[in-house]
């Protein structure tokens, strides 16, 4: 069943005749994107390394006073490598190796900013509610093994690296956090951004491990543009995307880990709506594959205990402020999505559609402040 459809787009292309396909794609994906022309050796490298490689171009109109602001982003989705009961350090190292071979191809593609999936150095083990060995995957954001690994990649390829990990914060009692580390293309640790909204749904028992992030809605000024990281469940919260945008984010990454029949139809809606509503680019990344755990666990849904909770459906994509979006990566295989973006499209779209100008934020600040009070009286009109 997981493999029934490799990608939605390929299924549409297989069966729908060209004339209708053009209209179907326009309605579903917005304006047609050019494919990014990639050198043959790059295409071959992706084939040899067995991952889906796709590239698209988001163009903007020429302007008189600004040159195009071209940036290439890379989104990486991947399976875990070793069984989940392999030694922790072996699991991490195997993932480092796999991701580094995909990043090398991203570098061949001229990627300037790469983002990995949520908690990319580990299986998504929060379904188990076990503390060991999963908490051993936590690392210092500032100078952990994985951050140092990313700093090497960043320097080697002159690439900004967004690295979402399980963080252990030794300075604050050794607490855990779900955190994205941002490494500058110079190899410097630029900062970290924590997951603001923590799920309590189905197998996503993350509130057992870490609290809501306390790093607010910071935006990172990189050489290639201003970026922010809205981790996973935060994609369901329009206010979260919004506040990153208000702080100036031009590209918001959404590294995720999500499964299931309810989640998948939402996947193509949420990050894309955020790109439209906030006049910015969004990059939605989901892992792939099914992860098996040695000890059985239940899912709080009355069903029998089991060892896995379904396949992560991949389908990573990039969405643009003008409502256009790229196709999704594979639903089942590792992949690298490269998008060449002209950031000038953000302001061009904003100047045309004016959502920020017409946003009436003073009214909402006032209404929201009132709504958070305990004695809030909803504005309800009755007969």
């Amino acid at each position: 069943q997981a493999g029934a459809i490799e990608t939605l787009e390929k299924t549409l292309e297989t069966f729908i005749p060209d004339a209708e396909l053009k209209e179907v794609k326009r309605i579903l994906y917005g304006k047609e994107l050019k494919k990014l022309i990639l050198p043959q050796k790059v295409v071959e490298a992706a084939q040899e390394r067995e991952f889906d490689l796709q590239g698209y171009v988001f163009e903007a109109a020429p302007e008189q006073l600004r040159t195009p602001r071209i940036v290439r982003v890379g989104l990486i989705q991947n399976k875990i490598i070793l069984p989940t009961d392999a030694p922790v350090l072996n699991q991490i190292t195997a993932l480092h190796k796999r991701v580094s071979e995909i990043v090398e191809v991203a570098a061949f593609c001229g990627v300037n900013i790469v983002c990995f999936q949520e908690a990319w150095t580990m299986p998504f083990a929060f379904c188990t509610r076990e503390k060991e060995p999963w908490t051993e995957f936590a690392e210092s954001a500032e100078d952990g093994f994985t951050t140092r690994f990313c700093q090497e990649l960043a320097k080697k390829y002159n690439m900004v690296v967004v690295s979402p990990i399980l963080e252990r914060d030794e300075i604050h009692g050794g607490t855990l956090w779900n955190t994205a580390v941002v490494v500058s293309n110079t190899g410097q640790f630029l900062g970290k951004s924590r997951k603001n909204h923590i799920p309590r749904v189905g197998d996503f028992n993350e509130s057992t491990y870490y609290m809501e992030g306390n790093t607010g809605h910071r935006v990172f000024q990189t050489q290639f543009g201003r970026i922010a990281v809205n981790i996973c469940y935060g994609r369901h919260h329009p206010l979260n995307w919004f506040m990153y945008s208000i702080n100036g984010a031009e590209i918001i990454f959404n590294p995720s880990a999500t499964v299931g029949a309810v989640s998948e139809p939402m996947w193509s809606v949420e990050a894309r709506n955020a790109a439209i509503a906030n006049h910015c680019f969004t990059c939605a990344i989901n892992r792939v594959g099914t992860e098996y755990f040695k000890n059985e666990f239940t899912s709080g849904n009355g069903k029998k205990a089991h060892h896995e909770f379904g396949h992560f459906y991949g389908s990573s994509y990039v969405a643009a402020p003008d409502g256009s979006r790229s196709p999704g990566l594979s639903r089942t295989h590792d992949g690298l999505l490269v998008a060449e973006i002209d950031l000038n499209l953000n302001r061009q779209t904003a100047d045309k559609w004016n959502f920020k100008m017409t946003g009436r934020y003073d009214m909402y600040a006032d209404e929201l402040t009132k709504a958070t009070q305990n004695d809030f009286k909803p504005n309800i009109i009755k007969e």
Copy 2:
């Protein structure tokens, strides 16, 4: 071109084989909805009256302490009837007649709450920037010709009527507003809700005619559930949907008038995202057809003057909190979409996914308040 695709769903169904179609629909539309079984005489009445009739059922799980809270909503989309230079009263009367014959079928379908399209008594003439004769279409919300017409319908069919009109407010200097009137199923004027966000984009020169609404985010308690009206351009503003939901809306109607290659790919995203993010139902209604105006007008895009600005693409639909949605009505023909909704699905979805519980609204109230200050310093981290 307008007619190239009648509906997206029909095109998918025509070309994609059953096995793949099931997966394509699951990914694009969420869980499969039952079709509403409608009596043959009703289907025939719709055929005779030449409009697209579709009906779907949004089910919820049974509960122990609450009975199902079933409501049937009706969404009506239609073309204008007479040429735009016909006498004003004739145009209004012709639309009353057309809509009343669709409402009669809605009553046959057991509809409890019906909503018409934005500014439904008139052509969408704001493209012209002419004041006359368009301002003559404005009426009193409380006791205008059209409100009295809706009151008759409401009483006759025991139906709540949401009637979006161009309002003239005599008490406040005769100002115009873009307003939805809500008439109770008893025939009483229940209240009005004004459009909160006014576009300045392309042919939508509405800020020439009326200002941003001053009725906040009121919600109407009807016999069939709590409803709110987010008019047209407000669908691009996630905060607008959100605040109706915070005030308790269970169903948010989005009567609209929209055209164009940029708008259409956004159409299926925005109201649906709002249903997901706010654990409520949303009903997106767009008019159909192309409206010709006697005097030529320009569109602020460097192109030659013209007499029409493209076809309203219809595609009205209902979206549910669990990410499922109905197919769209026709892109080219008048239509009535009937959705049987169990409002219990809202709380069931909220209890499972917890977006309000995990919303951190105090943080956002604080951040948004700061962001609206003139001396706001965005939270940007630099190397």
